[in-house]
Symmetry: C2
Subunit: 122 residues, 2 copies
């Protein structure tokens, strides 16, 4: 991925992680690995941990320390009620944005329309 994806992830990565936690609780290292498997190949631990700390401090997730057999204790995050509300707002914002962008995409794919609507807002 490139610079465009980096900028696009601002704001959406948070929603992606929250949605992931809504499906199933998880810890940072695990989330990073899953994102990498799903094609977000550039995402590294540091990014995800910073995000998790942020949403924890905002009270969107609950945290539970679980001992690991393979290393230091894991911090398992799960979405709480407040996080659920926040995630719903995310879906609304995303839906609005996606709608506008898809609309533009369709306009570009169908060049035979009337796009210069001269007296629209005047």
């Amino acid at each position: 991925m490139g610079k465009q994806m980096t900028e696009m992830l601002k704001g959406t990565l948070e929603g992606i992680v929250l949605a992931t936690l809504a499906v199933q609780p998880a810890y940072g290292y695990e989330i990073t690995a899953r994102l990498r498997e799903q094609g977000f190949s550039d995402i590294v631990e540091g990014t995800v941990y910073a995000l998790l700390i942020r949403i924890e401090q905002r009270g969107l997730v609950d945290v539970e320390k679980v001992p690991s057999e393979k290393g230091p204790p894991r911090k398992v995050y799960s979405l709480n009620a407040q996080g659920g509300d926040y995630l719903e707002e995310f879906w609304k914002s995303w839906g609005f944005l996606a709608e506008r962008i898809e609309q533009l995409h369709h306009q570009l794919e169908q060049p035979g329309h009337s796009n210069n609507t001269p007296n629209e807002g005047e």
Copy 2:
């Protein structure tokens, strides 16, 4: 809109403006007004002008000064070949991201699936 939308627009607003210019050349004040009409009610001129200067310095758009009857001369931007390539990359990145997010959305709407695939990557 809220803080979520602000963050989400980082990276996507650029694509939105480029796509808008691909449909039809326009100047900053006009673009801002159109975005506002389309529901991006918080967007102000300053944001759009800064973005336009950025994409101009990257060589993604051509600029033409056109005198206006109502005020200072307009800087009319139009997408050039390089901008077209960049816009195509934007669609690819957007498509990838939208696909992942829609997938998560479907997972949350259909809670009867098997989501805990225990041995997927180990």
